[in-house]
Symmetry: C2
Subunit: 207 residues, 2 copies
């Protein structure tokens, strides 16, 4: 018997507000029904400091944030800040699965070009094809923005690599590269899987 | 060097809305900066199904939910549904630390009386004294509501038990009981700590 979300079964209709909030919060990645309940109690306790500001921040994000029409990044206008920045038109486009990956790339402060956010990876099982993934738009950008190199920064998973190979096959007239695989900085060999060690060994460099 | 919450450092001021939301969500129990970022990306993707309903549900809870003046439970009026329900005036008050504990008690559907939510446990370190914990209000209720039994359902922690003993010392003219300690239902001896086994052995019963 699944545990009901509603903690007090015979309560009155006023409880609906709390139950709605618990049910919605439980849908966030990283939260389940139990932690959503805890979070709601915390929110109610910190009504002024947390609950009301959070409601306002969500409304504001809902009102202002959308997808960049060019690259799929998060934007507050039609075009995101990176696509709007001419200094980033250096002929390089970095293809990532998700906005979280774009943010991870940006944190390294190494890449000075623009991005293209696929919004996932090709998956026959989940019926995710090239159109869903903004791949046609990527092909348009290659010519439209005078791109010379496409860097595929996709996950080292089966779906990620399938997608990378599919994209590489579609691209002509540009250099296509992908992120190097190897030992992560700070990584201890003991904790690495065989696949990573194999890749790092194959790509070994002279010191 | 702590990793900045802002994933894109050189972005424009429009990013503030997203960053505010990430910072606020990261304050929820069970979420940190990393999972808050993931949650915000998820929210932006599911703007219509999740972000806007969540903002509305939070606003609604913020507008309607407060603390019961009598027992400290969550309420939508001055008095919570349990305190307002005459059928629950059976002379028993169950003292709990927190509303989450009240909900846990209610899920068992065994207790038919009313509650008193302390809002924490006594703690010299955190300067939490009897007034902070609504203990004076509990004493008032004993006479005011004709209480015959106070059931202390506090955590089996040092602070919980200190608080239970403090309350028991204050109460005169009523039966004071506390939840039994022992092997949890479904619990395997192998995984229990010595304290629980000791308590269960001391409180053993004839079959």
């Amino acid at each position: 018997m699944p545990q009901p979300m509603t903690p007090v079964p015979d309560d009155d209709a006023d409880r609906a507000a709390l139950d709605d909030l618990i049910a919605l919060l439980a849908k966030l990645p990283g939260l389940g029904p139990r932690s959503a309940r805890r979070a709601v109690l915390h929110l109610v306790k910190k009504r002024g400091q947390l609950l009301l500001p959070l409601a306002a921040a969500m409304t504001r994000v809902g009102d202002t944030v959308r997808e960049c029409l060019n690259c799929g990044n998060i934007a507050t206008g039609d075009i995101c800040a990176i696509c709007a920045d001419d200094r980033r038109a250096n002929g390089e486009i970095c293809v990532v699965e998700d906005v979280a990956d774009l943010w991870a790339m940006e944190r390294s402060r190494q890449f000075k070009g623009r991005y293209h956010v696929l919004g996932g990876t090709l998956s026959a099982l989940d019926a995710i094809g090239p159109e869903t993934l903004r791949i046609p738009r990527l092909l348009d950008r290659i010519t439209g923005e005078g791109v010379s190199e496409v860097i595929l920064a996709l996950g080292a998973t089966i779906d990620g690599q399938t997608t990378a190979h599919y994209i590489a096959d579609q691209l002509t007239g540009v250099t296509v590269t992908s992120l190097a695989q190897g030992v992560p900085v700070g990584g201890e060999l003991d904790y690495l899987d065989e696949g990573t060690i194999t890749a790092a060994l194959r790509a070994r460099r002279a010191l």
